[in-house]
């Protein structure tokens, strides 16, 4: 147990070193293995996918993908719905969160910490608690199975995270630079463009990617509030496993296709991921 506290500075006395490195590799591979298995299985034929013991080196084929895209109900409408809901809600979140974060960091309002914690507290309210009234409202207003309802809901789901993240990025703008800009007589738009934007652009990108991921992943609301028209990709996935017989390769292909945007967005935002997930409190 004593070996675990070896510091990040490499040391000559570090006897357990190679073993610990090996252990780290083994653990990493174990964690990524289900993902690799999903990808590998998706390229196997159904017959090879459902074998025991597993056939790792079976011939590769695109049958699973072909079956997923053109076998039954087309996955394109749900995928496009997910894309629409995720992108539009992310745009809305950015439009709302940037001015709010500005008013909480660059030119803070009085009691700005209270406002910040109000945003955070809404994130802690269990979503099931708001599900029923939203459903009844949508029913009355004729908005059931309408993608806009999801867009509004996803915006509210991600806005607190985005405000916290954006605030933490904006607070990295050096005060001296803001003061220098104001001494030089730069207006708000010039300050935004030439002082603030260069510093927070990576932060805006990371915020957008994380909001995109959360919207793309959401299942409960999409399942309750949508039906055939506005159905999203996760809902489509849950309804996908009703077919009989061999379907594992097709299922893995479907799971991989639906996860692909999140994997891409997540690896792109890798460095800022922890800051976003901890609402900007850890960097």
């Amino acid at each position: 147990m004593s070996v675990v506290a070896v510091p990040s500075v490499p040391r000559k006395k570090d006897r357990g070193g190679p073993w610990l490195s090996l252990l780290a590799w083994v653990v990493g591979i174990l964690f990524v293995l289900p993902v690799l298995w999903m990808v590998l299985t998706s390229f196997h034929s159904e017959a090879d996918a459902a074998t025991n013991p597993p056939k790792v080196f079976a011939p590769l084929t695109l049958d699973g993908y072909r079956e997923f895209f053109s076998g039954g109900a087309s996955p394109w409408p749900p995928l496009l719905n997910s894309l629409t809901a995720s992108i539009l809600s992310t745009v809305l979140v950015l439009l709302l969160c940037f001015p709010a974060a500005y008013a909480l960091s660059i030119k803070p309002v009085r009691k700005w910490t209270d406002v910040l914690f109000f945003f955070l507290s809404t994130k802690m309210l269990p979503v099931v608690a708001g599900l029923l009234p939203l459903y009844l409202f949508a029913q009355k207003a004729g908005l059931l199975d309408n993608i806009w309802l999801l867009i509004i809901f996803y915006t509210s789901m991600n806005l607190p995270i985005a405000v916290w993240m954006m605030r933490s990025f904006l607070s990295e703008v050096p005060v001296e630079m803001l003061e220098a800009a104001s001494v030089d007589g730069a207006g708000l738009s010039k300050t935004l463009r030439s002082v603030i934007a260069p510093v927070v652009m990576p932060g805006i990108a990371a915020t957008a990617l994380i909001c995109f991921i959360f919207s793309w992943n959401e299942l409960l609301f999409a399942r309750v509030l949508t039906a055939t028209v506005a159905e999203t990709a996760p809902v489509f996935l849950t309804g996908f496993v009703t077919s009989q017989g061999l379907f594992l390769a097709q299922l893995c292909a479907a799971a991989f296709v639906v996860s692909l945007p999140v994997l891409v967005a997540g690896f792109a935002a890798q460095d800022k991921l922890v800051q976003g997930l901890s609402l900007g409190s850890v960097k």
Binding site: V128, L277, V282
Partner: protein, 318 residues
């Protein structure tokens, strides 16, 4: 290392404002905040007020003529319902199990990744991957590709290992039927360990290395340094991970819905409320259950807010 509020002492907020223009100025400052604030109040607070109202109503969509005031009846029914009590226990087990196991695993892995070794970046990337699989897809993957008793990877691997040793009768457990709650917990631990690992790794990398180096020179061994320096430093990160994890996992719906459909004693509160509302259409009872869940969450959330707030103040104080 933490971003929050380093500037609070120096930002113009501290400057005294002339009193005449103060009100106008205050509103000018508030204006950019208003759209987001109003939006959040309408979309998140109003529905909850509605839930509170409905929880005192007798309202079942199957009996539209009997809608009316019910007093505390819904709450009584929720508290006396055996399924509901089971759901509370299941939620506690599920949340505690996932948070504790993934926190401990995450701590171990963060310590492993806090060292320099060949391929450290690659291992870190591999570790993040589970968190980036869409939760429903991950649940389906575990249910069908890993847990399946006939062709799942787990039983496949057992067969393979047994064959290596010349045995033709490997055990082939039906994982989900034999241990349904653990099946859900393991799938979630797989997804949440990367989250805990990332937070703890960030914490480890914010350690004051000069102090640790000094302790080492003074003859402290690895375990002493871990116990008396690393662990206290990590405490707030452990708390943060546990609380944020709890908030997300208490609300878990995807894994329970997909892996067991709430069967075999795995129905947690969100799933049970979903059922009362979506299948039984008993709006009053579903709302009462939701109100109780919110009250429970407020207890966790108070601690969570306090933890985040202390991290926050610590930064502001620097």
């Amino acid at each position: 290392m933490t971003s929050v509020a380093e500037q609070t002492t120096s930002r113009p907020e501290a400057k005294p404002q002339p009193s005449r223009s103060a009100r106008g100025l205050a509103w000018a400052r508030r204006a950019p905040l208003m759209p987001a604030l109003v939006f959040m109040i309408i979309v998140t607070q109003l529905p909850f007020v509605a839930t509170l109202v409905i929880s005192f109503m007798n309202w079942n969509a199957y009996y539209p003529d009997e809608v009316g005031f019910a007093g505390f009846d819904n709450f009584k029914r929720v508290f006396t319902d055996v399924n509901m009590r089971d759901a509370v226990l299941t939620t506690i087990w599920l949340t505690a199990g996932v948070v504790i196991i993934s926190l401990l695993l995450g701590l171990g892995i963060a310590l492993l990744l806090d060292r320099r070794f060949r391929g450290r970046g690659a291992v870190r990337t591999m570790m993040i991957a589970p968190f980036l699989v869409v939760p429903v897809a991950a649940a389906l993957l575990w249910k069908h590709a890993l847990y399946n008793p006939e062709y799942g990877l787990f039983n496949g691997a057992i067969t393979w290992v047994w064959k290596l040793f010349g045995s033709d009768h490997p055990p082939q457990p039906d994982w989900i039927s034999n241990m349904p709650l653990w099946a859900v917990i393991f799938a979630l631990v797989w997804q949440w360990t990367p989250f805990m690992m990332l937070i703890l790794l960030a914490g480890l990398q914010g350690r004051p290395l000069d102090v640790i180096e000094a302790a080492r020179i003074d003859g402290a061994n690895g375990w002493q340094i871990f116990r008396s320096m690393t662990l206290p430093h990590l405490r707030q990160y452990l708390e943060l991970g546990a609380l944020l994890g709890s908030i997300y996992i208490v609300q878990n719906f995807d894994a329970v819905f997909t892996i067991t459909s709430g069967g075999l004693g795995t129905a947690n509160l969100p799933y049970t409320i979903y059922q009362i509302f979506y299948q039984a259409h008993d709006y009053g009872r579903a709302s009462a259950a939701a109100v109780i869940v919110v009250l429970g969450t407020i207890i966790i959330a108070t601690f969570a807010l306090r933890t985040v707030s202390s991290l926050f103040k610590q930064e502001a104080g620097r």
